[in-house]
């Protein structure tokens, strides 16, 4: 799972769809790794927020997925991959306020339609790929200052 290879590191964290009680565990682990590596506070916060938003989206909308973390000199990449319903209209999903969250998701304190735009603001670069009926991949990059 955790291969440190010179100055590169690759980590993988499974995320279970529908499991709200475990939601955030992967992002919390990622945050702790970055802290141990001595990454700057501002970067850790941006990565933690974006990774958590993507983890919550997997829990809320997908069947299952994974957070992949790639740490290299100068850059951290977080890729949230899931098997799930996919996003039919990505542009619409990115709009603040657009949400298909169920009452259960709202009860957990989510579903304001802010997650994807928040991820986009936190990351230096974000690309969403999605196939309806198959799943979604969100790739985010964070430059290390």
């Amino acid at each position: 799972m955790n291969e440190a290879n010179g100055s590169k590191m690759h980590l993988e964290f499974p995320v279970q769809g529908g499991n709200f009680s475990g939601a955030g565990g992967a992002s919390s682990s990622i945050k702790n790794v970055l802290k141990q590596l001595g990454i700057a506070y501002d970067t850790i916060k941006r990565v933690a927020i974006a990774s958590y938003e993507s983890e919550i989206n997997i829990v809320a909308y997908a069947t299952r997925g994974e957070l992949l973390v790639d740490i290299e000199p100068g850059e951290i990449a977080i890729t949230a991959v899931d098997i799930g319903p996919g996003i039919p209209d990505i542009e619409k999903a990115l709009q603040e306020g657009y949400s298909t969250a169920t009452p259960l998701i709202r009860e957990m304190g989510f579903g304001a339609g802010l997650g994807l735009s928040n991820m986009q603001k936190a990351a230096d670069d974000m690309v969403i790929e999605s196939v309806v009926g198959e799943g979604t991949t969100v790739k985010m990059k964070f430059r290390l200052s």
Partner: protein, 127 residues
């Protein structure tokens, strides 16, 4: 403000104490019922958040998890809401203090504003 003063100001009960006080004391308040909103607000701050008090009417484990991820160390549950056992366990793992106040959101904000606590400093937008 330290935890004892906060407890008095809000007539609150401390349910779990992380045993620490931030160097700055608690000097900032974020009042928020939705975790989506809290994340959006925290995404606009650049400083350490250890002096932030989160006032929330939401009592579920995601409140603790979200706070941990944005470095909030003190949560006040409003209107006498009590944390579940799962929340307390997670809070103790994450080192987050939980209090419970009988006050509403409005009254809690009012008394803390009177005591000159700050709003969260957003990096962009008006204050």
């Amino acid at each position: 403000m330290n935890k004892k003063e906060l407890q008095k100001t809000l007539s609150a009960e401390t349910i779990f104490d992380n045993g620490a006080e931030p160097e700055t004391g608690y000097n900032t308040v974020c009042a928020c019922d939705m975790m989506s909103e809290l994340l959006a607000v925290m995404n606009q701050t650049r400083r350490h958040n250890h002096g932030i008090i989160l006032l929330t009417g939401l009592a579920n484990p995601q409140v603790i998890r979200t706070s941990e991820l944005v470095d909030i160390r003190l949560i006040v549950l409003l209107r006498e809401k009590k944390p579940t056992a799962e929340m307390v366990e997670l809070a103790s793992k994450c080192g987050i203090t939980i209090m419970s106040t009988p006050y509403t959101m409005y009254k809690s904000c009012g008394v803390l504003h009177e005591r000159k606590l700050n709003d969260v400093q957003l990096e962009t937008g008006a204050d």
